[in-house]
């Protein structure tokens, strides 16, 4: 085997070895963008998480949440989208820190997430999603909270 070919084969072998590892080792946003999880305000958190790129308002991300939540400790939220997204983050202004959750979307996955969040008071909840093309999409909704959750 000549040298060039040998290098090519070993590079492929190493890549094959690394690939499953990176697949198993998930993206921990708390480790990669710790500042985003410490940010107290939504714009600051978005900046830390996704950079300063412009946000594009979209209706292609369906964000369902109740208009009025009686119990701020458990507010059901649904995110649905047909867009090819890389990550989806949810931010709010009611709690001590803004970043609530960040989803990493595996390629080809179906984006249909339902979960529950806590809000201390009435607040605007913002979703920012990064497409695989690098475009930042955003959508937001105000949720009225009558009894604050999160120990508030």
């Amino acid at each position: 085997m000549d040298r060039r070919k040998f290098i090519g084969v070993s590079v492929a072998a190493v890549a094959a070895l690394i690939a499953p590892v990176t697949d198993l080792k998930a993206v921990d946003f708390r480790a990669t963008t710790p500042k985003a999880f410490a940010a107290e305000h939504v714009p600051e958190a978005i900046k830390e998480m996704f950079g300063t790129g412009g946000l594009k308002q979209t209706d292609k991300i369906k964000f369902t949440a109740p208009k009025l939540a009686e119990n701020g400790g458990s507010i059901p939220v649904t995110i649905e989208s047909d867009l090819d997204l890389e990550s989806i983050a949810i931010f709010q202004d009611a709690n001590p820190r803004s970043t609530t959750a960040v989803f990493t979307v595996p390629s080809g996955a179906i984006i249909n997430y339902e979960f529950r969040i806590k809000l201390r008071k009435t607040a605007v909840v913002t979703i920012v999603a990064k497409g695989r093309d690098g475009v930042l999409y955003t959508t937001s909704k105000e949720i009225d909270v009558s009894i604050g959750g999160c120990g508030g």
Partner: protein
């Protein structure tokens, strides 16, 4: 098996998953108020036959005993494995066969 309830049902090639975890999900401020130790699930990863299908970095601002619903393309007989990591680094794993 961990304190985790998983349901995975297949329909038309799409597996719908409901997963419930046990955690007080108390962030620093809330833990101080309730005089407990701050504890929340920091990360949840779901794998179908070893392939990551769902992944979230969570925070203490999600509800107590969080319930997640998500779906992915899969089939009956697949093995779904969900791993959670809490803020102190403790991990819990639960598995469920897709039905």
């Amino acid at each position: 098996m961990a304190n985790m309830k998983i349901k995975a049902k297949e329909k038309d090639g799409i597996v719908g998953v409901k997963a419930m975890f046990t955690s007080v999900m108390a962030d620093k401020e809330e833990a101080e108020k309730k005089k407990i130790v701050s504890e929340y699930i920091a990360q949840i990863i779901a794998k179908n036959n070893g392939v990551v299908v769902f992944e979230v970095t969570a925070s203490g601002f999600m509800s107590e005993n969080p319930l997640f619903k998500f779906s992915y393309k899969g089939k009956v007989g697949d093995t779904l494995e969900i791993t959670t990591t809490d803020n102190s680094g403790k991990t819990e794993t639960g598995t469920e066969k897709v039905s």
